[in-house]
Amino acid sequence: MKKAGFTQAWLPILLLVPQLSIILIFFYWPAAQAVQSSFYLQDPFGFGSTFVGADNYTDLLGNAEYKRIAWFTVIFTVSVTFLSLSLALLLAVKADKVIRGAKGYRTLLMWVYAVAPPVAGFIGLIMFNQSWGPITRTFAALGHDLKIGVNYWDTAGAMIAVSVWKQIPVNFIFFLSGLQSIPRSVREAALIDNRSASSRFWGVTFPLLAPTGFFLLIINITYALFDTFGVIDTLVKGEPGNNPMTLVYKVYVDGFRGNDLGGSSAQSVILMVLVLALTVFQFRMVERRIHYT
């Protein structure tokens, strides 16, 4: 077979320039900037900066508040990931069984996917509104006085709830298509081999969903860590004080509210390393196992 190729060297380069320049300008350049400014202490009014070496990093690692927020981020990420995956799986399994009106249910369940994070946060604000939010009222009826923006764990709960709600459709779509790609005859064979529906699910269906599940696990961790910014921003806006926040939100608060660009950059760099580790882990895992044909 004849190998197709370019006759001139400059043509492929020219074709790559738009994509490469976008990556360079919007990803590598800011990343380099962040790494550089993480070693400086910036004047709050922008008049100059002083080289301080690794001080920004050592400050962070010794900082009790940073540790607290890091812990909260872990709790938040684990909760959001676990809840959004398990609820989506439950919904997908149920939707997969529906025969009549299946399309309608599926569309309704995917709908939330189209909601932008700040809008989701805003809907959350309405639902959790102190005086007339339906969720607040429900809790009040159950005897709990929900105080979003005042009570630390109430706010955390609302942040988790809205983030989970926003993420369920994505997981649902993937799980549903994962379920539907399991050959019907394999499930029927299991039906003959095993009387118990739950044992069939954990013994046959769930392992066959593992590739989808693992992919979603990484996607969800990334989502909970980074993409929940909009939700959190809307829910705690203007009231940073005692409210819970994640590491990503703290980068923003310290850098743009506190004008501590150096410290904020150091936090960004730490997060960059985290993402890098996560990505490497994902590629390793995907290459090594959880692959069926």
């Binding site: 005859s185 013994g203 066959l208």
Partner: protein, 346 residues
Amino acid sequence: MAQVSLNNVQKVYPNGFQALHPTGFEVADGEFVVLVGPSGCGKSTLLRMIAGLEDITDGSLHIGDRVVNHVDPADRDIAMVFQNYALYPHMTVRKNIAYGLQNRKIAKDVIAGKVAEAAEMLNLNDYLDRKPSQLSGGQRQRVAMGRAIVRDPSVFLFDEPLSNLDAKLRNQMRVEIKALQRRLGVTSIYVTHDQVEAMTMADRIIVMNAGRIEQIGTPSEVYHRPASTFVASFMGAPPMNMLPGVAENGAAHLFDLPIADQVAARGEVIVGIRPEDLIPDATGPLAIEVDHIEDLGAHRLLHGALRDARLTVHVSKDVEVAHGPLRVAIKPDAVSVFDVTSGARL
């Protein structure tokens, strides 16, 4: 071991489509019954109803002495072999075979013994720790068989188990499955659209068409005394020759030649003659114009015209043949006569 009996069993889908008209038959203990018919004739639906994978709209289904209409597939004491094998891709061959036993609270050493026995029987010993994706089609088919055998069920159900294999392997597995069934003596119901499989494997064949049973009989009965024109043309390759005939005075005539007696009907009929029942004979009563010869090695097929009807003659490789006129005789008692409108045997 058990017999299976169906009583007026039928299947109507929610959209009103009648996949299976009321059907009844019995499969004796240890019998190998083949359901055969073209795609969409309802044979797979029928098998899946026996397995419990499809609801039975009406009628009753017995396996052994139980009515199993509303019994879970897992409790019907059946094992099924699927067309695409339906192996569990995440389990090793060993686990695939053992899965059905593990869920029935059977002691581990008993399971291990049964798996070893099945693996021995099916030549799977070297593959027990492999995943299905590392096996060839024939090996996967054997694993699916193993999964059925270890369960020691009352009934084996086969849903076109060989149609995903290549021709050579298909012939080999056909013999293996039949031999295995004979050895185990398990009542078996086997669905196929391949009439060769039906002819070679079955104790009895059930020919289906458009949701109805056309004929139930031994392979020889179905082949030599087809109950309808459908059966006559579906079973046998090339199909039976169908020629226009006339019945009068208690006999059927093919172009004025009396060829079958004791025919009660009058008027137009269809005369069916198997290609191998037409024998080249210089003094034969039929004059055929041969216009095409297919040489298949062991035998030849002569295609030609008898007046304005087309027909095929099957001759062995030793017979001299040529294009042009040929006189043939009809083997005595080898003629079937069918009703023109209903297609039923007269």
